[in-house]
């Protein structure tokens, strides 16, 4: 898909890759004893070094059972804490930098040393990535897709943890943002992006769609063209895993073109491909 991307989509793709690079760099630096705050600070520094000035939202980092949002009741609990990383602990880094006016919002799951349980969760997320794309191409209502994803998670034996996000969203729209010299943020969210979302919400309200892909009636509409940052988040007892990346939805009649993942060269996708070729090789042998 990458070859045929428009200049605009290439811009989004570049920021998304930049964001994943930051996440991978910081993930490689994590040591036992690193705190969530230190990790988010490192993410901000990495992004700033790559020229990021504004954020859709500031980086989040969740360690241990916080990856599954265990015991989260208040929105403030999402913010980084002094929880220290320990060997074998899962972690999730979530950041949404804006660069050159393009927004990305990504989630990176990993663990400090091997964690077979989280590996399993990540492997099972592959099905969700394919499933969501298939259903979006069929133009099913977003609310229905949400419920289908819920059911898939239930069958897999997991809990839906994206329900803990604001409005319980599995995805939200991202867009271009004007670059300003001063880019303040409120509660971790960039004001420019919040404005964009609010605008979308207003238009959507008039036209019958919502920039937030939620389990509620407001999402009972077919996928709206635009860029959606999709973030299915699995939780299994004290372990969580998610990916987050941009799904492009267009109004093209060709199903292939009507929806596609912006980039197939992302760390989790590459990991799945490697695992698949490995099992194939094993099967062949």
């Amino acid at each position: 898909m990458a070859a045929g991307l428009s200049a605009e989509l290439r811009g989004f793709q570049a920021v998304q890759r930049l964001a994943y690079e930051c996440a991978e760099t910081v993930a490689a630096q994590l040591r036992p004893g690193t705190t969530e705050r230190e990790a988010t600070r490192a993410l901000r520094a990495e992004a700033a070094a790559r020229g990021v000035r504004d954020w859709f939202h500031l980086p989040f980092a969740w360690f241990g059972d916080r990856t599954a949002f265990a015991g989260f009741r208040l929105p403030t609990q999402f913010f980084p804490t002094n929880r220290q990383l320990e060997p074998g602990m899962p972690f999730i880094l979530d950041l949404a930098p804006i660069h050159g006016g393009f927004t990305a919002d990504i989630g990176y799951s990993g663990s400090l040393g091997p964690n077979p349980l989280q590996d399993r969760l990540m492997a099972d997320l592959r099905e969700h990535r394919e499933f969501i794309l298939r259903e979006v191409r069929q133009r099913r209502s977003l609310r229905q897709i949400y419920e289908d994803v819920d059911r898939l998670m239930g069958r897999q034996g997991y809990q839906n943890r994206h329900r803990a996000y604001p409005f319980g969203v599995i995805a939200h729209k991202v867009d271009r943002v004007k670059e300003r010299r001063w880019s303040p943020h409120i509660a971790g969210f960039g004001t420019q992006s919040l404005r964009g979302l609010a605008n979308d919400a207003l238009h959507g309200h008039r036209e019958g769609w919502s920039p937030l892909w939620s389990p509620y009636r407001m999402s009972d509409h077919p996928p709206h063209p635009g860029l959606w940052a999709v973030e299915p988040h699995l939780g299994f007892r004290g372990t969580g895993a998610k990916f987050e990346e941009i799904l492009v939805v267009t109004d093209s009649a060709d199903p292939e073109q009507s929806a596609f993942w912006l980039d197939d060269e992302l760390p989790h996708v590459k990991r799945w491909k490697e695992a698949a070729s490995l099992t194939e090789a094993k099967g062949g042998a």
Partner: protein, 606 residues
């Protein structure tokens, strides 16, 4: 099971000790030390179970059984001399390799001495302690509580003080000897059989009156000096496994609260039994001993079960987990690690969550479900969560023959089930008048007959083994809350509740607990698969979706029900209502059944 037994006498100072050996001497050596008033024969059931994998050694403590008696008696039973005896036996049976030590009661009190004095370093590889604290730790425990007598600590002190009545009695001169050689010695086997629910007439030794009379000196020679001046350096230099029977009438489980301070490498296990564990729970003991021994023989047995999933638990200063949820999880792991747990309806909802909770505690899980794929998924994730092992069994609980076959297969391949969770159930809603005979049959077949088949198939095995066990039946809040919308379902669940209560009464004589769980509205797929009687196909779908949405809005997670199941087994609770509405209804059923009946008339908004 009987293997060749070799007897030998070992000289230690002025006494001769009688030791017997089981199994191949090339295997790791385990020395089992008996307590008071026992002789080495108390260990025979455990030794026989370990003999195929280990070189097992039992010996009579001086003055007991066929070992000779020190003269004079006073001063002859000091822990220093008992340490000499142990070293003499260890040198005789395993001169080159360190031995694994297991002690029960006074054997464990001695074991603590052996595991904490310097001169045994390098001779002991591991120590399993059952029902016998270190006198030094005990001394410090008392001192601490006397020094800062908070209400809780005072209560602990008084509690243990009351349990120790026999210790004071044994300090009186002559009388204990007279009693043991007279009426007490004659009656003891019967008294013990009754107290511990043992088969009468199976008391293992004839030398009891003499053993008990001599053994009184164990107390007189050691208790007062050690409690008054406990050693400050009584740190275990070996890994310790502590097995605590929670119903012990002589020792409070609180005694071991500070143990992490003394034993840096400590693994805790608990049993819902009384004092004489080697006779009442030989299977479980043999399992835990062999697992612990292998883990400290350099044999790779994988990560210790029951701790893999817990991961790094933040420990408080005392060494025990600090948060209440971590403490609960530790309690589950202490109790269920390695136990065989069978859950029906394990492919989804409460059954699946229950399987996972047991898996996290390190149990061996058998996930039974009609849906083979869902069952194997549960088993697979259970293994990842830290289950010692997990298997899937695609069986329909309403099929009697299939259940009998399953029970037979489980018994031969995996052993006797320790915890049985009869959870499989289906939902059915609709008024009585629209419920057809087929509908009735369907719901009763699964919800009631499934439980009956499960209990029939496995309870007999538990009783035959005679080493306890537990049965959990998933009833429902609908079992005591009438409703015009759920006549068939409520009837089936009320039957399950009553069955559980009757079974509890019957099986309590065998030390088997029965618990009925009454969840209430829990967010599972029972609504999505429920049958609504008298509704057309499209109406079915609508009602399912609507009720699913209702349950989702209520959003009570099955994981909390699973916790209630484990907690119910731990406490041996009779009836466990889970959700707040289930608890409220349970209370109301007692306070004002009339109010419940009035509520039953309300048609639910679907």
């Amino acid at each position: 099971m009987m293997s060749e037994v070799r007897e030998r006498m070992v000289r230690s100072g002025e006494v001769d000790l009688c030791a017997v050996e089981y199994g191949d001497t090339a295997h790791p050596t385990i020395i089992l030390v008996h307590g008071y008033p026992d002789s080495k024969e108390v260990w025979t059931p455990v030794a026989e179970r370990l003999a195929d994998r280990f070189h097992v050694v039992l010996y009579d403590v001086r003055g007991h059984g066929r070992s000779s008696v020190p003269t004079p008696l006073r001063g002859g039973f000091r822990l220093e001399k008992l340490t000499d005896d142990f070293l003499a036996v260890a040198d005789a049976v395993s001169p080159d390799r360190p031995v694994h030590l297991v002690g029960h009661d006074w054997g464990s009190v001695q074991g603590w001495e052996f595991a904490t004095v310097r001169r045994t370093e390098g001779r002991i590889a591991s120590f399993t302690s059952i029902s016998g604290p270190s006198l030094d730790h005990f001394g410090h425990w008392i001192k601490q509580r006397l020094a800062r007598p908070t209400p809780r600590r005072t209560a602990q002190l008084l509690g243990q003080g009351a349990r120790s009545w026999y210790v004071y009695a044994l300090h009186t001169p002559v009388l204990p000897e007279l009693a043991w050689r007279g009426p007490l010695g004659r009656r003891w086997p019967k008294l013990m059989a009754r107290a511990e629910r043992l088969e009468p007439g199976t008391y293992p030794t004839g030398s009891l009156p003499h053993d008990a009379a001599h053994g009184a000196w164990l107390y007189r020679d050691n208790v007062r000096p050690r409690l008054r001046n406990p050693r400050d350096d009584a740190y275990a230099h070996v890994p310790v496994q502590l097995i605590t029977p929670l119903g012990d009438p002589f020792l409070s489980p609180r005694l071991y609260d500070d143990l992490e301070r003394w034993a840096p490498e400590l693994r805790r296990r608990t049993l819902p039994t009384k004092h004489w564990v080697p006779r009442t729970r030989p299977d479980q003991l043999a399992d835990w001993i062999s697992e612990f021994v292998l883990a400290h023989e350099g044999v790779d047995t994988g990560p210790p079960v029951g701790t893999a999933a817990i991961g790094p638990v933040r420990k408080s200063r005392g060494g025990r987990p600090s948060t209440s949820s971590a403490r609960l999880r530790a309690a589950y792991a202490e109790r269920f690690a390695g136990q065989l747990v069978l859950v029906t309806g394990a492919g989804s909802g409460i059954g699946r969550a229950t399987s996972f909770a047991f898996a996290e505690a390190g149990a061996r899980v058998i996930a039974v479900d009609r849906d083979a794929e869902a069952a194997s998924r549960t088993a697979e994730l259970s293994r990842l969560l830290g289950a010692a092992a997990a298997w899937a069994e695609p069986v329909d609980v309403s099929d009697e023959q299939a259940m009998d076959k399953l029970a037979a297969r489980v018994a031969t391949e995996r052993g006797v089930v320790d915890v049985l969770v009869n959870n499989a159930g289906i939902g059915m809603s609709g008024s009585f008048l629209t419920t057809s005979a087929d509908d009735w049959r369907r719901v009763l077949d699964v919800n009631l007959w499934g439980v009956i088949h499960g209990c029939r198939a496995f309870a007999q095995q538990m009783v035959d083994r005679d080493q306890g066990g537990h049965i959990v039946n998933t009833a429902s809040a609908a079992a005591y809350q009438p409703s015009r919308a759920l006549p068939a379902y409520s009837t089936s669940k009320a039957a399950v509740l009553m069955l559980s209560e009757c079974l509890r009464a019957e099986l309590s004589a065998h030390g088997i607990g029965v618990t009925a769980i009454c969840p209430g509205l829990v967010n599972t797929n029972i609504t999505a698969t429920a049958h609504f009687t008298g509704a057309s196909q499209s109406e079915q779908e609508r009602l399912r979706a609507k009720s699913s949405r209702l349950y989702r809005m209520r959003n009570y997670p099955p994981e909390k029900v699973a916790d209630a199941v484990l907690d119910g087994v731990l406490r041996n609770a009779a009836v466990v209502p889970v959700t707040p509405e289930a608890r409220a209804a349970h209370l109301l059923a007692r306070l004002s059944p009339k109010a419940l009946r009035a509520m039953a008339r309300i048609d639910p908004p679907l």
